[in-house]
C-alpha cells in the first residue's frame, strides 16, 4: 500500500509519496530516445486532438505541440482547474473548434486517470500496490469543486483517505521544515503561521495555529481568480505590444504557445536567472525579430495584481485575531517571484517571512505527512451556503443561510455538523435552489463569488412518492397541506453538504447538494 499526497494545481500536479520517514516526489516518467526521463511534476495542461477526438495529457501533450502540423491538429487547453469554480453536474466547456464542447467531468476523469497511470509507471510504487491518497484543494473551493475533485480521483483508482485545504497542508509541511524533518519534534511544534499560497490559478491565505498534532485554521479567505496564469497573460501582452500584434487576434494554438513561453520566462525571473524577459517569436511560429521586456516593466504591472492578495492576507490575519503570529509562509509556484516577498515584507515588516526552495511541492508533502500521521486538522467553511426561499407570500425571494463562512468544520472522523430547518409547505412540490457565495452585504444578500447550484425538487404532497420524477411545471400552490417538513443539513470534514428532506408522513430523501 502506498500513501500519497496529491496537489492538483492549475499549472502542475505534484504527487509526493511516503517512504519510511521520507517524502520523495513521485516523478512523471516518460520514455525518450535517451532513455527514461523524469520530471518532478505532471503538467496539468492537455491537448485535444481534432483528428481522433482524443485527449492527450502530461508529457504526451507537450510532445504533440512539437509535431509538424500541430497548429492545425491540436487544441491546447491550459488551466482547466479554473473552470471548476463554475462547475455543476453535466457542465460542458464550450470551444469553437470542438463540436459540442468538452464534458467537464468526463475530461477531468480522464486527466485523473492519466495521473494514476503516471504514478503507476513512476517506478516508485509496486504494480498492484493500492494507492491511498490525501487530496488537497483551494481553501476557497466551492462544494461542487470539492465533490468533483474527490469523486474523479476515486474513480481513477485512488483510494481517497483524506482531503485538506492547500494552506493547511502547507502548514503541516512548514512544521516539518522548521525542525528539519524531525517528525518527533514536529509533533511537538507550537506556533501560529499565516500561509500565503499563490499558485497558478488561485490565491489562498489562512492563519493556522499549530499545537502539537492539532492544526486549527483560525481564518481563511482567498481570491478565486488570481495566480501565475494571470501573470503569464500580462507578460504575453507585453511581448505582443513589442511585436505590434494583438494577443486576442492570435489563434488559440499560438496564444497557448505564447503563454507557455511567458510562463518559462517568468520562472527564469523567479529563479533569479535573468532580469530581462525575452521572446524570439520564431520559437512559437510567429514572424518578427526577438523582443525584450525588462523585469521592472513587468513587475510594475504585476504590483497591481499582487497587492489585492497582500490586502487579503491582512484581512485574514485581522480576522484570526491572534497576537502570536510569528511567521508568514510563502508557498505556491508564483510566490517565488521576488516582487511577492518584497510587497509582503513591506506590509508586514515585523513578521518573519519563510520561503522554501520547493514552493510547488510543499502542499503535496504536507498532505503526504498527514496521510501517515495521526493529526487533527480543523478547517473552516470558507463560503456562505444557503437556500433561496420565497417570502412575503411568494412575492419575493430571499437568501436564507444554512452554513455561514467561518464555521468550524469537524475533524476527519468526527460527526458532521448538523442543522435542522423546519418549513411549512405552501406548494405540492418544494423547489430548492441552493447558493454559495464568498461574501454577503449588510442586509445578508449574497454579494461576491456567487454560485447557484442545480435545483432539487421534493414532493411535499403525500400523494406523490419521494422518488417520483418531478419537473417545475408541476408545481402548484397548496394551502391544505398540514404539518411541517424537516430539512436536515449535514456538512462533513471536506465541507461537502448533504440534505435530508422529510415530510410529515415520515417519508424522506437524502441529496448530496452538488449532485442534484
Amino acid at each position: 500500500m502506498a500513501r500519497l499526497g496529491i496537489d492538483y494545481g492549475t499549472t502542475n500536479t505534484v504527487v509526493v509519496c511516503t517512504d519510511r520517514g521520507r517524502y520523495p516526489l513521485v516523478p512523471h516518467v516518460t520514455d525518450t530516445a535517451i532513455g527514461r526521463v523524469a520530471r518532478e511534476a505532471f503538467p496539468s495542461f492537455f491537448v485535444y486532438d481534432t483528428a481522433t477526438s482524443n485527449l492527450r495529457f502530461g508529457a504526451e501533450a507537450e510532445r504533440s505541440l512539437a509535431e509538424p502540423g500541430a497548429a492545425q491538429r491540436y487544441i491546447p487547453i491550459r488551466s482547466f482547474k479554473r473552470f471548476f469554480r463554475n462547475y455543476v453536474d453535466g457542465m460542458r466547456i464550450a470551444m469553437d473548434s470542438i463540436p459540442g464542447g468538452l464534458d467537464m467531468r468526463d475530461t477531468f476523469l480522464k486527466f485523473t486517470q492519466a495521473i494514476y497511470q503516471s504514478v503507476r509507471t513512476s517506478g516508485v510504487v509496486g504494480p498492484n500496490e493500492p494507492l491511498e491518497a490525501v487530496l488537497t484543494w483551494p481553501a476557497n473551493a466551492n462544494g461542487a469543486q470539492r465533490h468533483l475533485t474527490r469523486s474523479a480521483f476515486k474513480e481513477a483508482g485512488f483510494s481517497v483517505i483524506n482531503t485538506l485545504n492547500e494552506p493547511s497542508a502547507a502548514a503541516i509541511e512548514l512544521a516539518d521544515r522548521m525542525v528539519h524533518g524531525n517528525r518527533a519534534k514536529a509533533r511537538q511544534s507550537k506556533m501560529t503561521v499565516a500561509v500565503f499560497d499563490l499558485g497558478g490559478g488561485t490565491f489562498d491565505a489562512s492563519v493556522v495555529r499549530i499545537n502539537a498534532a492539532d492544526y486549527t485554521v483560525l481564518s481563511s479567505a482567498g481570491i478565486e481568480h488570481l495566480g501565475g496564469d494571470d501573470f503569464d497573460a500580462v507578460l504575453a501582452e507585453l511581448f505582443c505590444e513589442k511585436l505590434k500584434i494583438n494577443f486576442s487576434s492570435l489563434s488559440p494554438f499560438h496564444r497557448t504557445l505564447l503563454l507557455m513561453h511567458a510562463c518559462r520566462e517568468k520562472e527564469r525571473l523567479s529563479s533569479g536567472q535573468s532580469r530581462t524577459l525575452t521572446l524570439d517569436p520564431e520559437e512559437i511560429g510567429l514572424p518578427g525579430d526577438s523582443v525584450k521586456v525588462t523585469a521592472a516593466a513587468f513587475e510594475k504591472l504585476l504590483t497591481e495584481l499582487i497587492e489585492p492578495a497582500v490586502l487579503k492576507l491582512e484581512e485574514v490575519i485581522i480576522a484570526a485575531g491572534s497576537d502570536e503570529l510569528e511567521t508568514i509562509y510563502l508557498v505556491g509556484g508564483s510566490s517565488r517571484l521576488p516582487l511577492v516577498g518584497k510587497l509582503i515584507a513591506r506590509r508586514f515588516p515585523k513578521v518573519k517571512l519563510f520561503t522554501t526552495d520547493k514552493p510547488f511541492s510543499a502542499t503535496a508533502m504536507g498532505a503526504a505527512i498527514q496521510g501517515v500521521e495521526t493529526m487533527r486538522v480543523h478547517e473552516v467553511f470558507a463560503r456562505h451556503f444557503g437556500v433561496i426561499r420565497l417570502a412575503d407570500h411568494g412575492t419575493r425571494e430571499i437568501f436564507v443561510p444554512v452554513f455561514k463562512a467561518g464555521l468550524r468544520l469537524p475533524a476527519r472522523g468526527d460527526a458532521p455538523i448538523t442543522t435542522e430547518v423546519r418549513y411549512l409547505p405552501r406548494h405540492n412540490i418544494g423547489r430548492f435552489r441552493y447558493l454559495e457565495c464568498t461574501a454577503v452585504d449588510a442586509e445578508g444578500k449574497p454579494e461576491t463569488g456567487l454560485r447557484i447550484w442545480s435545483e432539487i425538487l421534493f414532493p411535499y404532497d403525500c400523494a406523490l412518492t419521494v422518488n417520483e420524477p418531478l419537473s417545475p411545471e408541476r408545481i402548484v400552490p397548496r394551502n391544505d397541506l398540514s404539518g411541517e417538513s424537516v430539512e436536515t443539513y449535514t456538512c462533513d470534514s471536506d465541507g461537502i453538504i448533504n440534505v435530508q428532506i422529510k415530510r410529515p408522513d415520515g417519508h424522506s430523501r437524502t441529496y448530496e447538494v452538488f449532485r442534484a
Binding site: 516523478p27 524533518g181 524531525n182 497576537d323 516577498g341 508586514f348 515588516p349 515585523k350 519563510f354 520561503t355
Partner: protein
C-alpha cells in the same frame, strides 16, 4: 475585533524574506555542539609511540587515534532515536540531490560558455565534461533525422532541405545533460528541418 500588532502598514521598503540556514548543516552543528567534548578534531601527538621506527607506523597510529576521537564526537548522533537518524538522512539526501542538480546546471552553463568561446577553451570543456561525468551528469546528443522531442531537445535553428521530412533534427548544436535519475538539466540544442 482584536487587531494584530504586526499588520500595520509601514513605509519601509525592500525588506527581503528571511532565509533560513541550510537545515542539515544547522542540525549537524547542533549535534556536534551537544557532544560531551567540544574541542574540534585536531592532529594527535600524544598517543603516538615515540619509538615507532617508521613514519608510516606513526601515521597509522595517528589515524587510529583520530578514528577514536571521531567516534566519540559522533556518539550523540549515532545514539539518537532511529527516527532522528532517519530524519537527518532524509533531509541530507533531499538537500544533496537538490543542490547537486543546481550545481550541475551551473556547471553546464559554464561548460557551454567555454564551448562557445572555442580555441583554448576547448580544454576547459573537456575538463568540465569529465567533472560533470564524475558528478553523475550524463551527456547526450540528438540523433540526426530523428524527430524533435520537446522533453529533451530545444530548437535553436531551422534549416531547409526539401528532400527531407519537416521537423526532423538535422544537427546537434549543443549537447544536453541529464542526471542518473533521468532529470534533464539541459536540453540538447538542435537545428531542425523546415521544408517551407
Amino acid at each position: 475585533m482584536k487587531k494584530s500588532k504586526m499588520i500595520k502598514p509601514v513605509a519601509k521598503t525592500g525588506t527581503k524574506p528571511t532565509l533560513k540556514p541550510v537545515p542539515s548543516l544547522k542540525k549537524a552543528k547542533t549535534a556536534v555542539k551537544s557532544s560531551p567534548k567540544k574541542e574540534i578534531l585536531k592532529p594527535v601527538s600524544k598517543p603516538v609511540d615515540p619509538s615507532a621506527s617508521s613514519s608510516n607506523e606513526a601515521l597509522r597510529q595517528e589515524i587510529t587515534a583520530l578514528r577514536t576521537q571521531l567516534s566519540r564526537h559522533m556518539a550523540p548522533v549515532s545514539t539518537g532515536s532511529m527516527e532522528e537518524v532517519d530524519a537527518m538522512r532524509r533531509v541530507l539526501n533531499d538537500l544533496m540531490e537538490a543542490r547537486m542538480n543546481d550545481v550541475i546546471r551551473e556547471l553546464v552553463t559554464i561548460r557551454n560558455s567555454a564551448a562557445s568561446a572555442g580555441g583554448e577553451a576547448r580544454r576547459i570543456v573537456e575538463q568540465m565534461d569529465a567533472l560533470l561525468s564524475d558528478l553523475g551528469a550524463m551527456k547526450f546528443e540528438a540523433e540526426r533525422l530523428e524527430h524533435v522531442d520537446p522533453l529533451i531537445h530545444a530548437v535553436s535553428r531551422e534549416v531547409s532541405d526539401a528532400s527531407l521530412p519537416d521537423g526532423i533534427i538535422m544537427e546537434t548544436l549543443r549537447p544536453g545533460f541529464h542526471t542518473s535519475r533521468g532529470i534533464v538539466v539541459a536540453k540538447a540544442l538542435v537545428a531542425v528541418n523546415r521544408r517551407s
